[in-house]
Symmetry: C2
Subunit: 644 residues, 2 copies
């Protein structure tokens, strides 16, 4: 499409275009919008600049005539024969704030709009956001707000543009893209921000075969995965080095009916080992498979007639070792017979409220309100260990494995129907169906936190070889996910401590100035603020602290502070209404009674208190004390703040 | 100064200015550089825009005449009486790449040039660097290279500007600033990048009283601090809760002459406690003072006649509690009598080669080549603990305390004369004399690593109340320090592990894919690269690994890997010449023999190997093993990479 044809089309969709005029090679147009750029419009001239077929900053009709002659001469010199189909286009050179609006057809997320700072430095500053073509106004505004250039909508340097101008433009691009599904690339650069709206000053459009967009293919009739009754462990083993032993042991606290199967028979943990599924009577709604991969399909076929609803395949040896065929068969069976599959090649599944631990991770985790989905068993296992130490509880844990069946979108939908789940954390390496994923997050009533690997080309490759899923462009992933309202975490442990997102105003109590200063920087880096003490609050602290305390937050109660000064301080600061979180920073000074200080944290102060113990050996006793009580504490300033 | 006068002045210094023309209110100039902006030049019109006294995009003489009339009418409407001293200035409106060049007179660093992306979005993108007015060409180039806009000098979008153009311009600004010390602010925005050089299109200059620049006030005649012979501990104490006890205990390994003083007399650790300094015969070159603050001055006066060279004042109770007067007196004495002071209010001093530990931190640190200077005792103490665990050795440790005498610049100079010191790490909260600091780093033969707090307004305030020194603008600090060749660390522990800056190509050996993918992202985030395996290297690994290994770096040797597979892998990869560092990632799988795996790290593989143990309780034995041997290991992926 020539530039003027693109502009004509765009005008039909209501887009504003900066003034332009297309005219024949021998025509003399009447132009009243100088300065202009003059360009040839010819399919024979692909790289206009290289052909000397672009002239800028033309200020008058005389200059325009000269420029026409020069361009024709330049093109002739390149031995191109121009004819009656070739034309000129003169476009007004507008100065103003240059924006960029583009459309890409992404492998993972399909048609996606890119908006941000435009002009020649677009790629240099990459100040852009990503917007789904199905995004509503709220999402569009949220996305735009993630760019720096959006400050021009907030009074930056007295600009008084409103964000509505930009939103209206993006709505128009959405409609244009939906009406023209064959447009797979679109570049408006620059788009000039004016009072009347955004005006396109240059446009490029590419048509082609659009990528499939699965939006709407939701399998609504699936049984709820997170409800289990009669559970069978296939491959329960008395060999303590086997996964089948660990899961059987972890499963024992389950209140529902539980059956162990092992071809060898016998007993395990006082329970009968059935030699075959056939010997168990009645329905089997949930089964865990831990047998060699070549016998898995056979077992599934035996389970199907038993009204199987949920299947967790622990066994490895499928896609990750090249066996795509068996995985395909499992997927087909699950769709035909309407049961859910987790795995294969996974760590298992845990349902807190049901006391059902079908993982070979650590046992004894607390029940809680957090559901955690992980695409890596090793990462899940490390997070479970950390959660155990810190006393974090879960409603559900899912080790996704090769994800042959249920995807993140479906699990988010299902978890939204589970009362015990209040928030959802996801460790993701690759995403299969981006549009569905966005839809599920958009619809979710529960807050969602996502840590995603695959930022760099190298880790994308590693993730692909590990999960077989594409990682995509991280910036786009982050932008889209944030636009639909989930939070992207930059630190893996934030998946456990995410409730701290309600934390804004932080107070530090410390016995040393230096570390508190570093901690302050880390807190501000995370976008949180240090609480400002009021006059009354300062007075209250003056009453209990020595005269040389810092008179400021961080509340430095001086190196000779012992537990009773910490206690008096907590007595006062825990009553400060505006404080959401207190860091209790302890460094070993000569007389510091660290154990007595950390014991203070066991009291209910009505506030979240995070102890940070900075010392080494002198602090082992206090650390062991906290560990043994599954109390969260931190050993470095960075780890204490990385999840804020 | 009016705009045209500024331009006239700048021209005299060889600056290129975009065409301009200044003319009387009734004059008709002859202008041949349209389009122009027309502005009034009058001291009566301060905010030109608000007065309607600026007209843009004027394309012809007729339009200029109209604009003149409109401006005069607008100004009259504001009831300003224009007279013969008032003029117009027409300046060419140039399009092109807009740069910014400014000069500020900073409280800490004095006259400093700011260079970067210019135009209206300067403050939004803050893509600028900082250049000392004494910087040479190498420093200027290094600084410019820190900006994104510098890509236009590296062929970005076929721009073919050379960096020499920018360097020459900055040299000119340096000369201009040195020749005009009363210029305390300068704003060239925009400066247009052209083939002929940088052309100033708008300029603002502010004159005033320049801030003092101490460059050149170096106290060259000071005795070397880092050489000690006869050492006296004043306030050595037999009370184990006292600092005087801890330091006396730590000092015992010293090979030189060592004396303890305590007014009560007696014995400590088998050594005599002198009741007074007077009873010790001969010179006392180094003294540590650990007595109450009100008796410190008296002791110093007693020490002066004994040829005192180095004084370490541990005692607190000076500036930090409001006693500036005593500190001032100590400073005066040290200058008059030519001795060095560290402190007061500090943790002490350690000289590795002399086996002299005069700190109340941990004892038993290894000797090494790293000197560490810290402005916080608590931070130093935590770093010493970490160093002990990780087996990091030191040539020197200095707890700077209130820094009444020696500053960082002088210590850097002195450490450059110490053979045992190969690199210098600095934890800084506030800087006193920026120009001296830059000079010392510029001159240093030893690589310097700096962690600086005070990024945010709140931590600046905290640092100020803690050290009494200004923190300054963090971006400027970072920019200047990097321009003179030191490295700014973003993680405090990087001060210990900085030798890893020679590390570029990294290889990961892992028994789990997920964590290795995260680790890859962290490594790339830090600007390092994952080593690419050659065909031969892949073949060599194929020989020792099961067929389903990752065939890629990260080298995923699969979950069932035991120590002997790790060993075979290390046998192969340790011979890969291009690899600078190997991460040995271990996650607990059913059969993982972690202890045997980490024992592999004790062997000399000819490469740096960092073990990362991701599991919880199952790994305690291996962790304790490494700890007891003072072997570095990591428990999180982030901590393992944060110092890269």
């Amino acid at each position: 499409m020539t530039e003027s044809k693109i502009y004509d089309t765009l005008k039909n969709y209501g887009f504003l275009i900066t003034p332009y005029c297309s005219f024949g090679l021998t025509e003399t147009p009447s132009i009243d919008f100088f300065p202009v750029a003059l360009k040839i419009e010819s399919e024979k001239v692909v790289h206009k600049s290289n052909f000397g077929a672009v002239k800028l900053n033309i200020n008058s009709m005389e200059a325009l005539e000269r420029a026409k002659d020069e361009i024709i001469a330049n093109v002739r010199a390149k031995e191109v024969l121009l004819d009656a189909t070739d034309r000129f286009i003169a476009t007004q050179m507008v100065s103003g704030i240059e924006l960029y609006v583009g459309l890409v057809d992404d492998d993972i997320f399909g048609k996606t709009i890119v908006f941000g700072m435009g002009g020649v430095f677009l790629e240099l500053y990459k100040d852009v956001c990503y917007i789904d073509i199905y995004a509503d106004e709220v999402e569009i505004q949220r996305a735009i707000g993630l760019t720096k250039i959006s400050k021009v909508f907030e009074g930056f340097r007295s600009f008084d543009f409103t964000i509505d101008t930009a939103v209206a433009f993006i709505r128009r691009v959405q409609n244009f893209a939906k009406a023209n599904p064959d447009i797979i690339e679109l570049d408006f650069n620059p788009v000039i921000l004016t009072k009347e709206g955004l005006k396109i000053a240059d446009a490029r459009i590419k048509k082609g075969e659009p990528k499939l967009e699965k939006l709407g293919t939701l399998r609504e009739n699936r049984p709820p995965f997170f409800t289990n009754q009669r559970v069978v462990l296939i491959g329960a083993s008395s060999d303590p080095t086997k996964v089948g032993y660990s899961i059987a042991k972890n499963s024992l606290k389950y209140g529902g009916e539980l059956f162990f199967v092992n071809a060898k028979g016998g007993e395990l943990f006082g329970k009968k080992l059935y030699t075959s599924i056939a010997h168990i009577e009645g329905d089997i709604d949930t089964a865990v498979i831990m047998i060699p991969s070549n016998t898995v399909i056979e077992s599934i076929k035996e389970l199907i007639p038993r009204n199987l609803r949920n299947l967790i395949i622990i066994s490895a040896g499928f896609k990750e070792t090249g066996d795509n065929e068996s995985e395909q068969l499992i997927a087909t069976l699950s769709n035909e017979h309407n049961f859910n599959v987790i795995g294969p090649n996974c760590l298992g599944y845990l349902n807190g409220a049901e006391n059902l631990n079908l993982t070979f991770g650590i046992d004894g985790l607390k029940n809680g309100n957090l559901a955690l989905l992980s695409q890596s068993g090793a990462v899940l296992s490390a997070l479970m260990d950390k959660a155990y130490d810190a006393g974090v509880g879960f409603s559900h844990l899912v080790s996704c494995g090769n994800m042959v069946d249920l995807d993140f979108a479906e699990m988010i939908d299902m978890l939204n129907r589970e009362e015990t789940c209040k928030s959802i954390s996801i460790y993701a390496e690759g995403i299969q169906n981006g549009k569905e994923f966005l839809r599920a997050i958009r619809k979710s009533q529960k807050k969602i936190y996502i840590f995603k690997t695959g930022k760099s080309a190298q880790s994308k490759k590693a993730a692909f070889s590990h999960t077989g899923n594409l990682s995509g462009n991280y910036a786009m992933f982050k932008g889209l996910i944030e636009s639909v309202g989930a939070k992207i975490e930059e630190n893996i442990e934030a998946l456990l401590f995410n409730p701290s997102n309600e934390v804004n105003n932080i107070l530090i109590v410390t016995n040393a100035g230096g570390p508190a200063t570093i901690l302050t920087d880390y807190i501000i880096d995370q976008g949180k603020t240090l609480y400002t003490l009021s006059k009354d609050e300062l007075d209250a602290l003056n009453e209990v602290l020595p005269s040389n305390w810092s008179k400021n937050n961080p509340v430095d109660i001086i190196g000779d502070a012992m537990a009773n000064r910490y206690e008096k301080t907590l007595d006062v600061v825990s009553k400060f209404e505006g404080v959401d979180l207190i860091y209790l920073l302890v460094t070993p000074q000569c007389m510091t009674d660290t154990l007595a200080i950390v014991q203070l944290c066991e009291r209910d102060w009505g506030k979240k208190i995070y102890p940070i113990l900075l010392g080494g050996h002198e602090m082992e006793e206090a650390k062991n004390y906290l560990r043994s009580r599954q109390k969260l504490f931190f050993k470095t300033l960075q780890s204490a703040t990385s999840f804020l």
